[in-house]
Structure formats: C-alpha cells, structure tokens
C-alpha cells in the first residue's frame, strides 16, 4: 500500500541537509509520496528504509513481462471493477502446441501470422505455449523458426527446460509449472535463465506457502495457476486472489494468474477463455486456434480493457464516403469510434456515396451521448456550421440517427433552410433507408 508523505518522512534522516534539492526532508517526502522524485536523490537513506519504501511502492499485483521479439505484460492491476478506474495490462493470449506435433511449424506459422483489424487497430495473438510431450528443445527451435513471439514452456523436467531455455538467450520465457512437490530444481532453472516461473497448488493456501519459498531461491517473477475445475470455482479463486492482493496487500498471492481455457474440450473453450478475460487472468492459453475465435476473444479483451474514462474516439469532422457529390446525402453521427465505424462500414459496403458528419460527442455513442447532453440540436448545428457543410453540398438535407428523432424539431430551428430527416435507429438499416427514402 502506498505510504503517505508523513510516513515516508519518518524513514528519512530528518537532517534537512538539502542535498536532494529540496529545502527539507519533509518537502522531499511529499514529492516522493506523489511519485515526482526518485528516492536515490537522497544519499543518506538507510538500507532498512530503502527496503521498506521499495516494498510499499511495489504494485499489489506484480508486473510480469514476457519478452522475445515482442512483449506481453501482465499484472500491475489496481481495481476489481473496470469502472473504478480501468484494467491496464490486457491478458496475453497464447496458443498451446505439442512438441510431438508433426505439423508444429505449420500451426505456429499460421497462428503467428494471424492479424485482424478492429476499429482501426491491428490485433494478433501474443505467443505460444509449448508442451514437452516430445523433444522440447527441438520444438522451441521449430517455433523460433517461424515466430518471434514470447514462449511458455510446459515441462517440469529441469534438464529439458535448461536445454530449451539455453536457446532463448536474451528472452524472458515463462516456465509451467512448479508445485509443492517439486519446486527447488525448477526455481534454480528459472533463476539461471531469468525465466518467469509458474506456481501451481491445490489451494490458495498451498500457493501462498510456496511463493515465498521460491522467492527465497532468488526468483522474483512468478505467475499463479489457481487450480479449480468449473467456471464457478475459477471465478471464486480469481476473485479471492485479486482481492487478497488489492485489499489485503497480501504479497504471497500478488502475481498475475495463468488460465488454460481448453482443459474441458473445444466446445467449452470460448466461454472459459471469455470468463478468464473478464475476470482477472493475466495469461490465457488456448488449445484451439481459429480466426473466428481469436477475433471474438481479441475484441472482448479490447472492450473489457478499454479505459472507461477514455472511450476510443475518432476525430470530429466531415468524412467522405464513396466519393460523394454535392447532391449526395448528409448523415450525422457521433465520434464514438464504434458508432462511427458501424455507420461508415455500412455505407461504404453499400457503395452509396454520402457525407458523414461526425460531431464531437466526447466519444459517446448516439444514445449515451444524447442522454448525457453531448449530442443535441445545438451541437449538431454547431458542427454543420463549423465544418462549412453548406459549401460542400447542394441539397441541404440532414439525416439524423433514428434514436434521436426527438431532436428533429429543434434542429430545424437551429439550422434554418435545412431539411431534417429521421433515419433508421441502427446502422445496418442505413443502406436500405438511403435507397428507399432518400431519392
């Protein structure tokens, strides 16, 4: 838990020597509490205070970074519910492959190349989990031949892991997994290769017993497998682990969680992965790669991890779709990216030319913005004038989203000389409306 300025002050020398650049130790302590200076600016802090301050500054869920040609981060989360602030580090999506698989290279290459665009952003999978049911080193080599993404190595054989990790110099891989019966050698292997170590136990108590022992062996970076067999159990375990870390500042469980979504077969896998994404997993391992599942999960992850204070927005302005002419219709919508893309995609797909006026609704959808007073006649009229729409079009006619039909009277008053039409409520119905009603 973060310390206050006064608490920090008590750990400083209290000599007011000014070497840190501040007139007093208290002033320095206040700046430290606000995270505006580094502790190292004071040359006189005791080792004991340094340790205490470092511990208090540590995030409740440790930040874990897996590194190869690309990076994936987990941890550092601060809330139970996204509306309280936001969820920060999107859970990495990994595909599990078997070392014994004759098609290993092909499967890894296909998943590695997968890329999908969602509202202007490109998404990919994050890496691979290789199961050592055959020669692990050979498999790592094969996968490295086609992908530069981070790896999870599934094995509890220290010798096999040592050999495989030797090929991954400079990378940070994740080992799966140490359990109470066999953790010492795996901890040594992890320490030697600076790998992250997964810790597995039958209960939160067993896990909490084990992580300090592994830490004592020199491994700081850990990931937890919480166990459990059903959606209900996983929800309970992940909620408890997150609460212990955030609310009780319970360090033994302050690590990101890994979840295997394919453990009860492919039919349940999408739902299992979805719950893991919404409910606190740091790494999600899939057994199935299909474009349609990857797309759905990547979008869910993006949605859940979007900062509620900063909805994805597009620039307000006039967007030209399918090379509109002066007589082409004018459509109005808000600058919430999903709203914009739904409308733009539909119109674009229809091949019909149109001018799309995107108003500044502070990144809210039509209904939400209307309810919040960010999408009203005044704002629409202001956008029309500001963007000089009248100079671009010959037919002064504006189509409002059906959800805000109530605005049409007011808008007519605000924009004299313009005809106001009420369009459909949903973007999918726009092409039909444009064909039938706008001729």
């Amino acid at each position: 838990m973060a310390l206050s300025g006064i608490q920090i002050y008590k750990m400083l020398p209290q000599t007011n020597c000014k070497e840190c650049g501040f007139p007093t130790c208290l002033a320095f302590a206040m700046k430290l509490a606000a995270k505006q200076v580094e502790l190292s600016a004071c040359p006189y802090v005791t080792e004991e205070s340094k340790k205490q301050l470092a511990e208090s500054a540590a995030p409740p869920v440790r930040l874990i970074t897996l590194k190869a040609g690309t990076e994936v981060k987990a941890g550092n989360e601060v809330v139970m519910f996204r509306h309280e602030k936001t969820f920060y580090n999107k859970p990495g999506l990994f595909l599990r492959l078997k070392a014994s698989d004759a098609d290993l290279a092909k499967k890894a290459a296909a998943a590695d190349a997968y890329k999908v665009n969602y509202v202007g952003m490109d998404f990919t999978l994050d890496g691979f989990a290789i199961e050592a049911d055959g020669d692990l080193s050979a498999a790592v080599k094969t996968v490295r031949g086609v992908s530069k993404r981070p790896l999870i190595l599934i094995s509890n054989d220290p010798a096999a892991l040592d050999k495989a990790l030797s090929q991954l110099a400079g990378e940070t891989a994740l080992i799966y997994a140490a359990d109470p019966s066999k953790y010492e050698t795996l901890a040594d292997t992890a320490a030697k290769h600076k790998a992250v170590l997964t810790v597995r136990g039958d209960s939160l108590e067993a896990l909490a017993d084990l992580t300090p022992k592994i830490q004592a062996k020199g491994v700081e970076d850990m990931v937890l497998d919480l166990g459990g067999k059903t959606l209900g159990e996983w929800l309970t375990l992940s909620t408890q682990a997150r609460r212990l870390a955030l609310k009780s500042n319970f360090k033994p469980l302050g690590y990101p969680v890994i979840f295997f979504a394919g453990q009860n077969g492919p039919e349940k896998e999408p739902v299992y992965a979805a719950q893991a994404i919404s409910k606190y997993a740091g790494f999600v391992v899939l057994d199935t790669f299909t474009p349609e599942l990857a797309y759905a999960l990547l979008v869910l992850r993006e949605n859940i991890y979007t900062d509620p204070q900063k909805p994805i927005q597009v620039q307000p302005g006039i967007y030209e779709i399918n090379a509109p002419k002066p007589e082409s219709p004018v459509l109005v919508t808000t600058n919430f990216s999903i709203t914009y893309f739904s409308v733009a995609n539909e119109v674009e797909g229809s091949g019909l030319p149109a001018w799309l006026v995107v108003t500044d609704a502070e990144g809210m959808s039509v209904l939400t913005a209307w309810a919040a007073g960010k999408f009203d006649a005044e704002r629409i009229a202001k956008a029309v004038k500001e963007f000089n729409l009248a100079e671009k079009v010959s037919k002064k006619r504006i189509v409002l989203p059906g959800h805000v039909a109530v605005l049409s009277g007011e808008l007519e008053e605000e924009l004299s000389g313009w005809e106001i039409r009420v369009g459909p409520r949903e973007a999918v119905d726009l092409p039909a409306f444009m064909k039938q009603a706008l001729n």
Binding site: F81, T230, L235, V271, A274, Q275, P291, P308, I338
Partner: protein
C-alpha cells in the same frame, strides 16, 4: 498458511420476482420462474449461495422476420412462419421462457391470436414485446394484456417516453413489465421510480439496462450492470431488481453475425463466428449480473446454459 479471505457483507439484496403463473396461481403455465434474491455479487459462493439461477429466453416473432440473418432462418426453418410452432421448437432447444416480439404489421387481433397460440403451444412463461413504436406498442399490448389476464406475462418494452399505458394495463391484468433505459445507472433508477410511483409494485419490474454486442459497446452495458448491482447491494432500493438483457438481438445485428460475405478473411468461419459473438456477449453479461438472457440461436442457448450451470453449481 491460513489465509483470511476478504469477504463483502452487503446491506442490500435483489428483490425476488416471479414470472408466469401456473393453474394454482391463476394462469395456465406449466411452471413459473423465480428470479433474484441475490445477496452478493454474481456467483461468489464463498460469500452467499446463488438463490435463483438466471433464465434463458429465446426470442421468436409473431411473423417471419425478413431482416434476420440467414443462419437463423436455417435453424428455425418453417417454424418461423408460425409463432406456436416456433415457441415449441424454442422450448425443445432449451429455453426457460419465451420472448414473443410482435411486429408493426400486426393488428390488435393478430397480436392477441399470436399470444394465445404461443400460450397454448408452450407451457413456458412468456414475455411479450411490442414492435417498438410507442403508439403501436400501446395499441397491441393492451388487448394482449387483457386477453392473457392472470398469466403474469412480462410486457415490454417500457421506456421513459412510453411506459404509462403499458404499466397501467400490467397493473390491471396482473402482469409484469420490462423497463428499458439506455446504459445509464441514474436513468435506470429514474424509470423505476416513475413506474413504481404509478402504483406497480417493484417486484413486478424486470430492469433492462440495454447493452451493446461484443465489439459494439458491450463494455458500457457490462459496467452499467456491475454498477447497478453494486448500488443494489449497497442498499439503493430502486436498483434492487433482476436484470434482463438482449445479447441475441444485439449480437445478430452486428455484421460479424449477420453476414457471411464481403467481410475480412481474418473473421474466419461465419457460422462459428456468429455463435461465438452471441455466446460471448451473453456470457460477459451473465458475469456482470444478468438474470434473464434473451438469445436467438439454439447453439448459443446450449453453450450459455452450460456456462450458467457451471457458475451456479456451488
């Protein structure tokens, strides 16, 4: 080492409400469904049991919808031309209750006929939606409410501009109502206040917070539901109502589900994608507190049902 797990103890709880009436209760349903009663956040069994499992509704229409995805037409087939057959098929597909959506083309007589035929074809509790235009909703829902007096239907969809007539007829004929607001905690509370002020008891309101599909604003609906549930548990009585959501309607309007052509290759197989879209939208909302989940595709019903079973199991 023994661990002291932080547990929440809430002052508030969700009201219990019952949909549908059996013969003993003055209706003709084979069984009624009770929802709500929760005293903590969804499925946290270490704090409190889940007193009533959420229910899955399948949405059917009074006549064949022309704008539904071909994938849905393929699974429901001929039954789409006859709401009674469609309701039966929905029951076979695992629905706990039926949503019958009336259409603009229906006359009051058509609407009453459709509702009666569904009531006699299936013993499940029934939710009836008007076509979504204020005047037409009133014109159809009033005779429906009268004709099905005592069945404890849910009548919808009440919005702030259009709730008085529907609430009045629900009160007069012993039904419940569905109260929808656009993804906003305060608007949801306000509408519940307006409706209870008319004299309808709160335990006859299903709250519909509205949602977006996966990729189309689901995070708003998701967070509004979490906030409504937290407010309810903290003791705000006007949010202590079971929630109904419509992931079927939302997901099948998304291009990802609706169409199979002219979409990027990276979207993968159409049919599998459509079911993922509906299922994942639904499951996220189940996790955030949905009590009635309205779906369209039988495969999604199967998957969401299995997810609910695993969550409810202690």
């Amino acid at each position: 080492m023994p661990i002291d797990i932080p547990k929440d103890k809430w002052p508030g709880s969700i009201k219990k409400i019952t949909l549908g009436a059996t013969a003993a209760e003055g209706g003709t349903r084979a069984k009624s469904i009770t929802l709500g009663g929760q005293t903590t956040l969804p499925y946290l069994h270490f704090e409190a049991p889940t007193p009533n499992s959420p229910a899955i509704a399948i949405e059917i229409k009074s006549r064949k919808p022309e704008d539904w995805s071909p994938l849905l037409a393929e699974v429901w087939g001929e039954a789409m031309n006859d709401p009674a057959k469609w309701a039966k098929k929905a029951e076979e597909a695992g629905a706990d209750l039926i949503v019958l959506a009336l259409m603009l083309a229906d006359s009051p007589d058509d609407a009453v006929k459709a509702v009666k035929s569904v009531l006699s074809a299936s013993g499940l509790p029934l939710i009836v939606w008007g076509p979504g235009q204020a005047e037409k909703d009133n014109e159809l829902l009033v005779p429906v409410a009268e004709a099905a007096k005592g069945e404890k239907l849910v009548l919808g969809i009440c919005e702030d501009k259009n709730y008085r007539t529907i609430v009045a007829t629900a009160m007069a004929n012993g039904h419940l109502i569905e109260a929808r607001t656009p993804m906003d905690v305060n608007l949801a509370k306000q509408l519940n206040i307006l409706i209870t002020d008319m004299g309808l008891p709160a335990d006859r309101i299903l709250m519909d917070p509205t949602t977006g599909a996966l990729g189309y604003g689901i995070e708003y609906g998701y967070s509004v539901m979490e906030r409504l549930r937290l407010a309810a548990l903290q003791g705000d009585s006007m949010t202590q109502l079971p929630m109904i959501v419509t992931p079927g309607f939302e997901a099948w309007k998304a291009k990802e589900s609706k169409v199979g052509e002219g979409v990027p290759e990276s979207w993968g197989d159409w049919k599998a994608r459509a079911v993922h879209w509906e299922t994942l939208t639904a499951v996220a909302l189940v996790e955030s507190g949905a009590d009635v989940i309205v779906l369209r595709h039988p495969e999604s019903v199967k998957r969401v049902k299995s997810a609910i079973e695993e969550l409810v199991m202690a």
